[in-house]
Amino acid sequence: MKKSTNYILLLIFFVLSAPAFAEKVGPVNAIWSYPAAFKPDQQVTFYFDVQGTTLVGRTDLHLYSWTPKEIEPWSNPTANTLLIPTSNTAVYTLTCIPNTLWGSPADFGFIINGLIKTEAGDFQTDDFSDANGNAFKLFDYAALSSNIAVVWPAEFSRERPISIIANMAAAWSNNGTGQGELVGEQAYIWLGMNAWTPGSQYNALGNPGARCSDVPNETNITQYNFWPDSVFPTPPVIKELDFLFNNGTWDKTARDVGGKDFIFKPATAGAGSASFTIFPKKVTQLDIMSLIYTPSLDTTGAGIPVGILTGSDRIYVFMEFETGSGALIPVDKAVVPQTQKLQMTTLPDGTYQFSFILNELFTETELPAGVEVKKIKFTFMNFDGASSPFGDMPAYTVVPVKSDN
């Protein structure tokens, strides 16, 4: 066989085999739905956030799933699985009636395993699946049999839709002596957050509150769905949700045991999930470097970010530099006053950020000009500079590189 024929056959082989080897682009960043809790025969919009992958901005993405069952043949995706871009180029939607899409009966499964893939099949995300611990979980209305009310998802936050589902027959009256006052009544929810503090904007919905909806084919179950950003003009970090129901005139109410308000704190993935990120990984003295602290919520149920103080307290970052000669220059509060330039700022999502350019951060007496910084160590300290809010957190080290330009 001629050499050129070999090359042609090889080329045909590669062209034909290319779609079979999809390149993995990383995990789906987050999945949520509106409403957060829904029955599989109701219309729902799923949201898929692919931030951090090379799929951002594409218009040919499809959802593939294998639980409860495959939606469409993998080799022939259709409009049923096409993801629709949103104004956020990393977030895509799929609006559907789950029972219709998956063809499942009413006893629809409570998890969805899947991945997102380009139409040509050349790029795909990692699986979101039960096996990976990140399958998309659906609310099971049967869970209400042991609860008066449930907030879904359990790990709720101000950024994502929330559903509040309550059993009106099991709810208690104002004095806690009777149950079921709101059975058969139109229910309104009176909703606030963070222990009804002035910042909770509990009256944002007006009096008597927001109208709730009966859940189809569920007896005495009422539900309220909302985006926190839509209900509360400037929602703070949600440490707890506080609510109760009334019939519009407040002569009948639905409350927790003993006639108390319902109080729900967001569940968390677990202690120690707070994270520090230094961006970028490789940096010169002329570049912006950002230290990002994402607090976790504690697991005691208090809902307070670990280590983050309240009020006017701030976190400060203290550094020491190893110079070209090997000498260590400590830059602590004795050298650098506690000014804005060492103060972390709070971002709207509750993370703390401190951005700086090494060459511009300090005065010449603090860091002499021309010093080649070999290494930087960061230690996070409380407002008083005497202790770390993070316990025995190790110091973080960055080694700057030289700039060519």
Binding site: G52, K281, S403, D404
Partner: protein, 155 residues
């Protein structure tokens, strides 16, 4: 063979009645004007190359970067103004594309120092957005980029 020759004759005899495409739209002309940053993303090319999830970070709020204003003039001069941090460290001088038809770089110089912005989304006539990047190099390797999403002022 005869059929092929007749076919070839017929094809070659057809009149070419397509209108001329005309000159390629001038990128140089499209860039002229004053541009202001609306968003600045910092890219970690090393992380991107390794396929890490966190390879870009929005630094718009840092160092007054939305106050970055650059004016590219028709006479080949440019001026960077505003209170934003200027990574290029050249505030004024002359500019030129590396390739006027398909630019990948805007070269800038003040006579003594030269630098460049990479063209990410080139300017187009009739559009008021373009994206350029100031890239940091270390040991000859591109390690960090600052992508300026620019909007034309008074287009």
């Amino acid at each position: 063979m005869l059929v092929s020759l007749v076919g070839l004759f017929l094809i070659s005899g057809c009149k070419k009645d397509f209108p001329a495409i005309g000159d390629y739209p001038s990128k140089t002309e499209a860039l002229q004007g004053t541009w202001k940053a609306e968003k600045v993303m910092q890219l970690d090319y090393v992380a991107q190359e390794k396929g890490e999830n966190l390879f870009q970070w929005n630094v718009t709020a840092a160092y007054n970067l939305t106050d970055f204003t650059v004016q590219f003039n028709a006479d080949g001069t440019f001026v960077i103004s505003g209170t934003a941090h200027n990574f290029a460290k050249i505030a004024s001088g002359t500019w030129s594309f590396d390739d006027p038809a398909f630019p990948s770089k805007i070269n800038i110089t003040d006579g003594a120092t030269s630098d460049a912005f990479a063209v990410i989304a080139p300017p187009k006539k009739g559009f008021d957005m373009c994206t350029i990047s100031y890239d940091r190099y270390s040991n000859g390797k591109k390690i960090i980029g600052y992508q300026y999403y620019l909007k034309k002022q008074n287009p």
